[in-house]
């Protein structure tokens, strides 16, 4: 196709992502032409067994694998992802869902995204079998901007010392490994932290709130925290108050792309008059900072 670049570009705008990808397979030169397609309107998503390019009109171009006779995804998906990143020039992935089956696949894909310095909007990590050292390396290096969901029943060992140092706006953790240390780090980067299935104790809660009231947590960014833990069931006091802890205040806050609200909250104040509302009902604790 010996046509001027500007004409080639206009032709590319008339092709959909599947056709662009097929063209890129023709030759190296054809790949450079395929790259002219403007992909601003298309978002990239990585799922357990497909790589999707999503357009603005709810159209999805799924580079998927046959579920009935799947190939070895650990082998075929990473090179396919590299090709797609090359052809379409993506440096951003909107959603990356690990699936629950293969840590190896999650790790291979993550390494590609780290090497290419790709930004990830949302990471859903749900793998049930984890290599702790490798996961720590990945989480320390992946650039997650909006949401990070970690929901796995994997029992992390006490040696798993990952602390979130690269912060998305919303951090959701459903695992007992996430403790007070991790929370104290996460509140200095995230806007909202949600922890479920946790091993938090009333003692942890008192320690955290005590530090906040004493204004010992410097540079706090989080305005909303919610924690669910079986240890909260019972009548152990929090800041001297016996659960359930409720009040008459209704607060809501928005920040970035997240928002949170508490109805029937109880007001607490730090030593210098900073305000927050808290609520503890059954196994769920919430706090919204003013």
């Amino acid at each position: 196709m010996r046509l001027p670049r500007i004409v080639q570009k206009e032709i590319m705008e008339n092709l959909d992502p599947f056709e662009i990808f097929d063209l890129s397979e023709c030759s190296k030169r054809a790949r450079s032409v395929a790259r002219l397609k403007n992909m601003k309107e298309f978002r990239l998503e990585i799922h357990e067994n497909s790589i999707d390019i999503c357009g603005t009109n709810l159209e999805t171009f799924a580079f998927a694998f046959d579920e009935a006779m799947p190939p070895n995804l650990d082998e075929v998906m990473p090179p396919l992802l590299e090709k797609i990143l090359d052809v379409f020039g993506y440096s951003q992935v909107r959603d990356f869902s690990s699936g629950d089956k293969s840590f190896k696949l999650f790790a291979s894909i993550s390494e590609i995204l780290i090497q290419r310095k790709c930004k990830i909007g949302t990471l859903y990590f749900t793998v049930e079998n984890v290599e702790e050292k490798q996961l720590k390396h990945i989480l320390d290096n992946l650039n997650i901007s909006d949401f990070f969901f970690l929901d796995t029943n994997f029992q992390f060992s006490p040696n798993f010392d990952y602390k979130p140092i690269r912060f998305p706006e919303l951090l959701c953790i459903a695992n007992s490994w996430f403790g007070l240390d991790q929370l104290l780090t996460a509140v200095k980067g995230c806007l909202e932290v949600e922890i479920t299935n946790s091993s938090f104790t009333i003692r942890d809660l008192n320690e955290f709130l005590g530090k906040w009231m004493a204004e010992e947590i410097q540079n706090m960014t989080a305005f909303s925290i919610s924690i669910s833990s079986d240890d909260f069931l019972g009548d152990s006091p929090v800041l001297g108050m016996t659960p359930p802890i409720m009040g008459r205040l209704a607060w809501q806050r928005r920040g970035g792309i997240v928002g949170a609200c508490i109805r029937y909250g109880h007001l607490i104040k730090s030593i210098n008059g900073q305000e927050a509302v808290i609520q503890l009902i059954r196994d769920r604790f919430s706090v919204l900072f003013g």
């Binding site: 046509l3 001027p4 004409v7 206009e10 008339n14 056709e19 097929d22 030759s27 030169r29």
Partner: protein
């Protein structure tokens, strides 16, 4: 330059198929310009039709030619085949002063002709026609496999590209050597 004044069709050379003058003609008479392609066949086209071409429109907007001057100075487009220029002129005449429809089904189906038309239209900067042509070129490969795309769009393989590049380098090297030898000869 030997030229034959023609209309939009070479089969009807006597009068151009521009809007006929009538009692209802506008007060200011329409001006005409002349263009020819590689085949030197001259086409008379109204300024209104030529407005589609940003290139020609730019050229004529400040000329202020009289009819005689325009006739004596046809715009030469030596890089455009006669039949392709004819298609372009026809399209400009058909769409003179009209809003362009969302699709144009009268484009050539033959790929070589379509590619030539694309090149001409791009050169003449006729935006709407270029849009149609590019859509048509894209339509050629809808739903086709990479191998079929390669065939339809005549895309060389990597090996063919590499061989062509080697050949071009070899040729350039030879030409450079020839020029050096000629320069040395001149110096003597």
């Amino acid at each position: 330059m030997s030229s034959t004044e023609q209309g939009t069709s070479s089969a009807a050379p006597a009068e151009p198929t521009t809007a006929p003058e009538s009692a209802a003609a506008p007060e200011v008479p329409e001006s005409f310009y002349y263009v020819h392609g590689k085949d030197k066949v001259v086409h008379k086209v109204s300024a209104g039709a030529l407005q589609h071409s940003a290139l020609i429109h730019g050229m004529i907007s400040n000329l202020g030619y009289t009819e005689e001057q325009a006739k004596a100075n046809p715009f030469p487009f030596e890089n455009i085949d006669g039949d392709i220029l004819q298609m372009v002129v026809d399209w400009c005449n058909q769409h003179k002063g009209k809003p362009t429809p969302p699709e144009d089904t009268n484009l050539p189906k033959q790929k070589e002709k379509l590619f030539d038309l694309v090149l001409a239209v791009n050169y003449l900067e006729i935006k709407e026609l270029l849009t149609y042509c590019c859509k048509q070129v894209a339509m050629m490969v809808k739903g086709k496999s990479p191998e079929e795309i390669r065939e339809i769009w005549m895309i060389p393989t990597d090996a063919e590209d590499e061989a062509a590049e080697k050949e071009a380098k070899k040729r350039a090297g030879k030409e450079a050597a020839g020029e050096t030898a000629a320069a040395a000869g001149d110096a003597k």
